[in-house]
Symmetry: C2
Subunit: 312 residues, 2 copies
Amino acid sequence: MTDTPRLRGALAPVVTPFTADLAPDPARLVAHCRWLLDNDTGLAVFGTNSEGNSLSVAEKIALLDALVDAGIPPSRMMPGTGCCALPDTVALTRHAVRNGCAGVLMLPPFYYKGVSDDGLFASYAEVIERVGDAGLRIYLYHIPQVSQVPLAIGLIERLLDRYPGTIAGIKDSSGNFDNTRAMLERWNARGFDVFSGSETFLLATLRGGGAGCISATANVNPAPIARLARDWRKPDADAKQAALDRARTIFQSFPMVAALKAAIADFSDDDNWARLRPPLVALTHEERNALGERLRAIGFAMPGLADETAAA
Amino acid sequence: MTDTPRLRGALAPVVTPFTADLAPDPARLVAHCRWLLDNDTGLAVFGTNSEGNSLSVAEKIALLDALVDAGIPPSRMMPGTGCCALPDTVALTRHAVRNGCAGVLMLPPFYYKGVSDDGLFASYAEVIERVGDAGLRIYLYHIPQVSQVPLAIGLIERLLDRYPGTIAGIKDSSGNFDNTRAMLERWNARGFDVFSGSETFLLATLRGGGAGCISATANVNPAPIARLARDWRKPDADAKQAALDRARTIFQSFPMVAALKAAIADFSDDDNWARLRPPLVALTHEERNALGERLRAIGFAMPGLADETAAA
């Protein structure tokens, strides 16, 4: 993993397809990952929008193996590995490192609330020590509105000081760009890669020296997001950002994971994609129609998706 | 499990001892469970105060097996089985039912916040259908300040209507007795057993027709709590409640799990008990001294604990 180039640009927290009995569907996941890679988008499998924490550790290990066996390059992967229980986080992280994943995206343990920075430091430190691999690259995952366990600046600083090679960056999903900017200003010089949690802040993050974005909607709009990540110095960057925002706004008007899956189901003409695992639920028929209408109204498309998935 | 009498009275969310390398310690857990049973207190293993969600599913299954193998009666057990991922909750619940546990205490999936009642209903329904055992008794676990996923009255009503034999009761850890009272008034007549989440509300819960309490401090003060649960109709009940409150108030002034473990370590003279798994941390030396002093000042004791643990 140490020789792997650092991940940059656009990554998708890859949505997880389910079969009729709610088991993960590796063939459809592989097809979707291929389409994302074809569109210059990296693979943050097992994230929040992947329903990653609705999957067991064994299911995630089996899916990762299925991806690798299918030839999806681990050098383009940043699987989510942070669980509530230390042995789960260690097992998943170790499996990702051994498979050569470019990095892992690590939630803090998220059951207990109001835990101390000492406790969070110990959580990350135990994982790092137990995995014990110089190739491990951890991207911290700050998503306080979901995890309810924020990662404070002081905690991150302590981790960076203690594990400078291993703490590789962060995904800031707080939705607060002031927070992202503070991280950029503080740690850019230390090779700490800041990803925004939404393409809404992609241009601002890149202009501030950040690495890119890991965004839900990169599942459905990968090429345009990846293009802005690549061409952000060009004069049309603000126009590109505005176009991304128009699509994002539509998806954000619906429950996000359900909307992503409904769009993939519609554009690939494969209703299997519309399933979610409880506690998340699919869009209603009315919501799905409304989403489709609003997407068509802005000329939204997912070029090549139907071919890729049909070939699966 | 259907022939097992319903659990009533005092239950402890049994604290989980760890070895020096932070592995669960089955021998010490068995000894502590014996002491709790000797003191008329049931065993809600793998709860919040058990660091239940800091344990992997495999660890919980191994601990449950160790308890059963040691002769701890499953008829006195209500293990926590609610995880974020459906297959984990199903596996743990199935294992508990097959071992004859009197019930299970089930958190809703707690990673996603703001989920719909439809999604929560589907979560519980999928577990019930997949376990598919008429002997399953589910106690819902309402602890919104930790899970951040409250169980609304309407959701519980729907579950009770659909699975009247299986939805056996609730642990209300909201700390809001108005909520507990509403449940008692609404569902007492339907054989729905309401446990308060703290002995602070034990007398009020029993007077309202409730079943008892499942309380952190039943780990350290089991006999007096169990005595009030048994003798709550006697004239000295209010005095007993006041005595319980004095001990509870002291423990509540510290991080709870750490304080319970520090007290067990001190009263059994076994420092191994003081360990917690990250993200929770042990009391500082100063905190531990302060806890000990305040407990001695009210004459607090844990009779028989040292003998039980020494015999382990």
